[in-house]
């Protein structure tokens, strides 16, 4: 009897843990949704801020986030994918490659503010791109580079060696094998990694703090050398700068909801793709 009592209370505690987790995470989404929905309107999504950040919308910030994220992916995707292909398909296996892989995995865990400093020292200062979309995109690109490399690597490693051999045994060249067999097979995994890193890039704030973001810009950015507003930074700035905390908080709720919606949608898409892939291949 005692045995079962312990078991029941143990299981009850585990249940409470799960419940607490879900309730708290649910609360975050609940508060932001309910209070954010109050301020969201067509005008909020399509217009710039007015009256010293107390009215108007967040369109430039949304657009800025799209630019920065797009730029980051354009930069990191070819580099990261090529790096993964080289490491998995071309380079000889051994100590060096393992060391490199370990380095990349570790960089994925480096705090994003450190990447921000790197961007400041290199892109803003050394290359002289200034505080701009270009600097911000490159910095965010480096943040997601390790993610793209390791996700692609995992996907490539999951492709069975036997079908590579089958392709080569038919007289296909190495490149033909990679292009026609390996990459298509690894595609869902690679795609999942890319989409997750898009979500990550869209939500990151620290890397763009000193490299790209501005609290307010007049109108939309004119070139890749312009400063830019960005959703996550906008939320932060609304809460810590400016002179009308109450009105700003309302706008911050709206901005948070939009950011949350975008990021959750993106990662849900990625997880959906992965889940479907799992179902196909058992």
């Amino acid at each position: 009897m005692k045995k079962n009592l312990i078991q029941d209370s143990g299981f009850f505690i585990l249940f409470l843990c799960m419940l607490t987790t879900l309730i708290f995470l649910g609360l975050i989404i609940y508060f932001i949704s309910v209070r954010g929905l109050k301020v969201i309107s067509w005008e909020f999504l399509t217009q710039g801020p007015r009256m010293g950040m107390t009215q108007g919308g967040i369109a430039p910030a949304i657009l800025g986030t799209v630019y920065l994220t797009l730029g980051a992916v354009l930069f990191a995707l070819p580099l990261g994918l090529a790096c993964a292909i080289y490491l998995c398909e071309y380079s000889p296996k051994g100590f060096t490659v393992n060391l490199i892989k370990m380095g990349i995995n570790n960089l994925a865990g480096v705090p994003s503010v450190v990447f921000g400093l790197f961007g400041l020292a290199v892109f803003v200062k050394f290359f002289g791109f200034g505080v701009s979309i270009l600097s911000g995109s490159l910095t965010l690109g480096i943040v997601i580079l390790p993610l793209i490399i390791s996700a692609s690597q995992e996907a490539l490693l999951a492709v069975p060696q036997s079908i590579r051999e089958a392709s080569l045994s038919l007289g296909a060249t190495k490149w033909a094998t990679i292009k026609n067999i390996v990459l298509p097979t690894a595609l869902p995994g690679i795609l999942t990694g890319i989409i997750l890193s898009i979500g990550r890039a869209a939500g990151e704030t620290a890397p763009i703090l000193f490299t790209a973001a501005a609290f307010y810009t007049r109108g939309y950015p004119r070139s890749i050398f312009s400063e830019v507003m960005a959703l996550p930074y906008h939320i932060y700035a609304l809460m810590t700068e400016g002179t009308h905390p109450d009105q700003q908080t309302a706008i911050a709720y709206g901005s948070s909801l939009i950011l949350l919606f975008l990021v959750l949608l993106i990662s849900a898409a990625a997880i959906f793709i992965r889940q479907r892939q799992k179902n196909i291949h058992g």
């Binding site: 078991q7 143990g10 299981f11 505690i13 585990l14 249940f15 843990c17 799960m18 987790t21 879900l22 708290f24 975050i28 508060f31 932001i32 580099l79 990261g80 090529a82 292909i85 080289y86 490491l87 398909e89 071309y90 380079s91 960089l107 865990g109 480096v110 705090p111 994003s112 503010v113 450190v114 921000g116 400093l117 790197f118 400041l120 020292a121 290199v122 200062k125 480096i142 390790p146 490399i149 190495k174 490149w175 869209a202 704030t205 620290a206 703090l209 000193f210 939320i235 932060y236 809460m239 810590t240 709720y253 948070s256 950011l259 949350l260 990021v263 959750l264 990662s267 849900a268 889940q275």
Partner: protein
């Protein structure tokens, strides 16, 4: 011939991305070292006063380090029970149906941007804590710990759940076969077998908490003094970098000092990740999985 060109292109791009990643380490060192010509490393790390803009300036980051330690420790107290407990629930109690919903949900929640957590902490937790403890401000170490801890729960839960799933089914069956009940099997067979995998999850959760910037910047209160209780405002290392870099004149001592903090942060998380990797490698070998 064509083959060689392709290989060459990939090699160049691969080395370019490696160069960028190497560059981070080099830049951190290069920009951090000048501060150590003025301030001894010992004084920098163990100095109790962080007054970078005074004259003469004081560059002692002990208050910042202690703030990071307090906040991270608090976050661990939140995220370990919740994260590991949830993972055990998922593994042992949730049926396939619940699992199919909760597991992806947790993974999706892991992608909520940190600025959103910070925002939540500011608008909901701050007034709540202020009233509860009658504080001058609700922006304090406790607030940061709670938000960071919560934030790390999905990561810890996902990783711990993976670790539990690596434990072979046969262990379970063997335990049932000698008359153990589910709870005994869980606590005496499965958790020990998955132990190092779970510790990897916890270390990675800690590593995430110590490096997290936006949340602590928003909710920790920002006072650069060594904390004595969880209810005081603090300024962890990441928050100091993010808050001060905007005002630090480029190339000045303050600028280099902030890079030095980033370097220390980098080294700390690097060690955490290496330890996590080593433990997880041993774990896989122990369970007979490929390294």
């Amino acid at each position: 011939m064509k083959e060689k060109i392709y290989k060459g292109i990939f090699a160049v791009l691969a080395f370019a991305s490696l160069a960028f990643l190497m560059g981070i380490v080099i830049v951190l060192f290069k920009e951090a070292l000048p501060i150590f010509q003025k301030v001894k490393i010992g004084e920098f790390i163990f100095g109790r006063y962080w007054y970078p803009t005074y004259s003469p300036a004081e560059f002692g980051i002990l208050p910042l380090i202690m703030a990071s330690v307090w906040v991270t420790f608090g976050a661990v107290l939140v995220c370990v029970p919740l994260g590991v407990g949830s993972a055990l629930y998922l593994h042992e109690l949730a049926g396939d149906k619940q699992r199919a919903i909760i597991k992806p949900l947790i993974e999706i929640l892991a992608s909520i941007p940190s600025v959103v957590y910070g925002f939540f902490g500011m608008v909901i937790l701050t007034p709540f804590l202020q009233d509860l403890f009658h504080l001058p401000t609700g922006l304090c170490a406790l607030n940061a710990s709670l938000v960071l801890g919560l934030m790390a729960v999905p990561t810890v839960c996902s990783l711990a759940d993976d670790a539990l799933n690596y434990v072979p089914k046969s262990f379970r069956e063997a335990s049932f076969a000698v008359g153990a009940n589910r709870w005994q099997t869980l606590t005496q067979v499965i958790i020990p077998a998955a132990g190092s995998g779970i510790s990897t999850a916890i270390i990675l959760g800690m590593s995430r908490a110590i490096g997290e910037t936006m949340t602590v910047l928003m909710v920790s209160g920002g006072a650069a003094v060594i904390p004595h209780t969880f209810l005081e405002p603090v300024r962890p290392m990441t928050a100091a970098i993010a808050a001060e870099m905007g005002e630090a004149p480029m190339g000045g001592l303050h600028y280099h000092a902030l890079f030095a903090i980033a370097l220390i942060l980098f080294l700390i998380t690097f060690v955490f990740n290496i330890v996590a990797e080593m433990i997880s490698r041993r774990f896989r070998i122990k369970l007979g999985l490929s390294g």
